[in-house]
Subunit: 328 residues, 2 copies
């Protein structure tokens, strides 16, 4: 295992210390809670909290900032944060207008965010949640009942953030977040597994000419394991799964080509170019494109494509300003 | 070789097609010239052109936009762009105020940018250039006489961009760019080599527990090749070289922890945390921090640290707005 780390058991704490030191608009809560939250909340605005296991950076701490999340809760690497950490974040962000929890669909995350929400409700805080299940690859998976939540979740962060900034109330923000979650589909493909700090070997192995289509961001099994081909062919396969699952005909879309950590930007732009040509051929417009590392899986080589079907309301919130530097 | 590509000989063209399709504020000139330039120039502003071999994305196309570069010229992977490509970019960006060329110190780049500048001058365009030599690791290298230019160059892009936007004339912009180039030092460390598209093997090999300190962004040899240790120790070594080379005492600095393509953001933030502690211990302030992939080497696992010594003038231009989404 070759990584720039000190002790494996300290990676989350040291990363978040570094994160907060680099981004003066946020505060790091410390190692007992592992929460990154905004230095200044907006009184009367619905609070937005997301999070999950570490190892997916910039998700989720990287999306904390005006116009997106108010706090992100981190678990250990690939492990859900405990309810007390999530409750800590809820306390930090609630200014009276209630809090929306944005949760990727993993059993541990769903359970712990629900439990924290219940505890907060007993204290009189209004809490709602939206669960994102954008990965079309498989029903049920290693850590999931139903579909997994992956990079499309970042669109839900952005759109919820816009709606909350516009002064929508908790139930309205929830409704808009659910529309975004309902309208987004994603799927990934990997050229390599990744190695957890402290574990000596990769989560899964691929041969020198092999690729896995539809794997999860923790290395969960996908739907196709075989020879790598040219990217036009791979994108065609992947897009076929997305198209089969939602009617994008004549829609405008936001497209995200998301690197999984170990794939250079050069390849992500080549993937995007194939996605663009595919969509043009299908008569589907691209309103905005996002190419980069948005939700990673440590140093996994691979990428995912997310496709968000837009309407005027979603466009408005997607376009709103945010101070989050990873977004644009 | 596992990459998301079609044919190795088309990677630059397809990447730049994808880049321009994702960023509507720029235009791609086509495969004969491989230039990305701003859709709308600012009349009367000094033009800024940079570039070099491909494989360092987001450098350089990713820095084209209002407030930074006006055009970026790409060669093939790790190969300098030819003078005619650079001349094409010069024609695109000159609006009468002249053009500054920002060149990383590699013999091929220096020669070709100089030749293009000379050709443009004969046509009556005012051209100046600044050469960046920020890598303190070695004097002279595989492709370089003197020191290599690496990620610190992006600071020169940003600061020149700010000065040009402020309406400074060509010689003033050059002077400010030279101050930035004089005040920045960088050094890298790698955990793996990288593989050029079309080449079957990595540019250099490292054992399972080995690291190379001071290698170049094309895999040029560094100054130390040995066992990997904890990141505190590695950062201490690397910072020692930077400190020895320039007096940062009591200065404020801009710090860049730059990923080389295959290293996850988690590790970059841990590196930054160690850099911050090191600088605090030395009584050196951090004015702004940049952590991410700014100048890569395909999928190389590794990072570099750049340290820019600031004064009020440099701060002003560093802080100015830019539409470049990779910057903040």
């Amino acid at each position: 295992m070759k990584k720039f780390i000190n002790k494996p058991e300290n990676v989350v704490t040291e990363m978040l210390e570094g994160f907060a030191a680099a981004h003066p608009n946020v505060i790091y809560s410390g190692k007992d809670t592992e929460v990154i939250y905004r230095r200044q909340m907006d009184p009367g605005k619905v609070g937005l909290v997301s999070g999950g296991g570490a190892g997916h950076e910039p998700a989720h701490a990287g999306y904390v900032g005006r116009g997106m999340l108010d706090a992100a809760v981190s678990g250990n690497v690939f492990a859900s944060p405990s309810p007390d950490r999530i409750l800590y974040a809820l306390h930090k962000v609630d200014t009276g207008a209630g809090v929306l929890l944005i949760v990727k669909n993993y059993s541990g995350d769903v359970m712990n965010f629900q439990m924290a929400g219940e505890l907060a409700r007993r204290e009189g805080i209004s809490v709602e949640s939206v669960i994102v299940r954008d990965d079309v690859a498989v029903e049920d998976s290693t850590y999931t009942t139903g579909r997994r939540g992956i990079a499309g979740t970042v669109f839900v962060h952005k759109i919820s953030g816009g709606a909350a900034m516009k002064g929508k109330d908790l139930l309205e923000v929830k409704k808009i977040a659910e529309k975004a979650a309902t309208n987004v589909r994603s799927m990934g493909m990997a050229l390599s597994g990744c190695t957890l700090p402290g574990v000596g070997q990769k989560g899964f192995q691929l041969g020198e000419d092999e690729l896995e289509l539809g794997m999860g961001i923790h290395g969960e099994p996908g739907i196709y394991h075989g020879k790598i081909t040219d990217v036009q062919n791979l994108v065609g396969k992947l897009m076929g799964y997305l198209m089969k699952d939602l009617d994008y005909t004549k829609s405008e879309t936001a497209v995200m080509v998301n690197g999984l950590g170990g794939t250079p930007l050069m390849e992500l732009y080549i993937v995007f170019w194939e996605v663009k040509k595919y969509l043009e051929g299908a008569g589907i417009g691209i309103y905005k494109a996002y190419v980069g590392n948005y939700m990673t899986s440590l140093e996994m080589a691979g990428c995912s494509v997310s496709l968000l079907k837009l309407d005027e309301e979603l466009k408005t919130y997607l376009d709103m300003d945010t101070e989050v530097s990873i977004w644009k």
